[in-house]
Symmetry: C2
Subunit: 242 residues, 2 copies
């Protein structure tokens, strides 16, 4: 079982402030913990049920603790019960390299599920890096981590002010997703550039649209008022990157 101090520490990592302070995050769920153990991230501890450890727990060099489901529930931030939880070091990420790469830049994405799904989309399409505005939901939120399905390990997510990104010297084209831009059907396949996606309700801010070199739009045939932010990201990647 957990000590009180362990529970307190792990629960503190539900908050971005403490994740940043301690440089660690918590990943919850059978599959993501398996993926983390096979990946390049620094996994510091695994807390799992006896059954899970018997099936997957051939783990050396890290702290491994057998915990029953009630114990896991004590440290979980998710509503669905989990068999395994990992304590992982937040990696030190290299600065973004815009030249020659596709970069996805997100402004004020607030829903952890959307954020995780977008990271997974970026991984599918081979996007080199994601830049998040500081008011995005944190990529190391437990719900986000779970929704990435392991893609968090393959796509660096870097926090940065978007105006500073767009004012970076050099001629990197940027493509702002708006409701009144150039039809994506007529936009050429990209080999370099920044794709800008905005908040779930408000879209991109006027400041960011003004700073972008291109505005692009998914044409609407029917009547839906808008598309989910992750779905829009997928559609745009599906037109501009393949």
């Amino acid at each position: 079982m957990f000590s009180k101090a362990q529970i307190k520490y792990i629960q503190s990592l539900q908050h971005k402030k403490y994740r940043q302070k301690f440089g660690q995050f918590v990943a919850e769920g059978d599959k993501i913990v398996q993926e983390l153990l096979q990946g390049s991230y620094g996994v510091k501890a695994v807390y799992a049920t006896k059954a899970w450890l018997e099936a997957h727990g051939n783990v050396t060099g890290i702290e491994v603790l057998e915990v029953d489901e009630a114990g896991l529930k004590q440290i979980s931030s998710l509503s669905t019960p989990n068999q395994a939880v990992a304590l992982v070091d937040i990696p030190t990420l290299p600065p973004p390299v815009l030249k020659g790469n596709i970069t996805l830049a997100l402004e004020a994405i607030r829903d952890p599920g959307n954020m995780g799904t977008i990271i997974r989309i970026a991984d599918w399409f081979g996007i080199r890096q994601i830049i998040c505005s500081p008011d995005c939901v944190d990529a190391y939120n437990a719900k986000t981590i779970q929704a990435t399905m392991g893609s968090i390990m393959r796509v660096p997510v870097i926090e940065m002010e978007l105006p500073a990104l767009l004012k970076t010297p050099g001629q990197i084209a940027s493509y702002a997703a708006t409701l009144y831009g150039h039809n994506i059907v007529d936009t050429k396949k990209l080999s370099e550039g920044i794709i800008l996606i905005g908040n779930e309700s408000r879209g991109l801010s006027e400041e960011i649209v003004q700073l972008s070199s291109h505005q692009i739009t998914i044409p609407r045939i029917g009547q839906a008022e808008s598309l989910n932010a992750a779905v829009a990201t997928g559609i745009i990647c599906g037109r501009l990157l393949i």
Copy 2:
């Protein structure tokens, strides 16, 4: 306040069995209730807070009940508190018309959020109808309804066995989304056809793939194992319908 019988009745509508028995569903949330009141669906009752009714409650011909937030919580199936709830008749839908239309067919989509997001995508792309296999999550689930953002009123969702659909006489082409089909980049824009999307974890069953006339695939550049079912639907519509 609600009577005990009202609470019992409304709560029963959280289950598909009772929705089918009584022919009604419950929609929760400020925006969706507003949209329903302006749309063509038969709204039978609105239960809302005083503030909501003052702002939007210019409603005649239906039952309107002022309820405080605690009262709304008693009948809610969602975790986020709502200002308004509507009791709505499930519409009688016409049989699907495949000839000359785009149809989206879903097999075993289980997540209500995905289902609602897919209905919203269909509405954006002007898809005429959605066919769901009987093991899909119900379109009139409160979470699904909320995720459609009102699109449920514009896209008929019809439950039907998919093999029967695909064996319907006539030459309607069908396009099964798989991991080993024809590249969607090389697939022509469609003006008629059935797009088939499978379960979140397993994809389409072998039976359905065998019955389809075409298999299509979103090419993967990176390493993600799969895409979210709603995102995949969006990407395919973004290549084949615009």
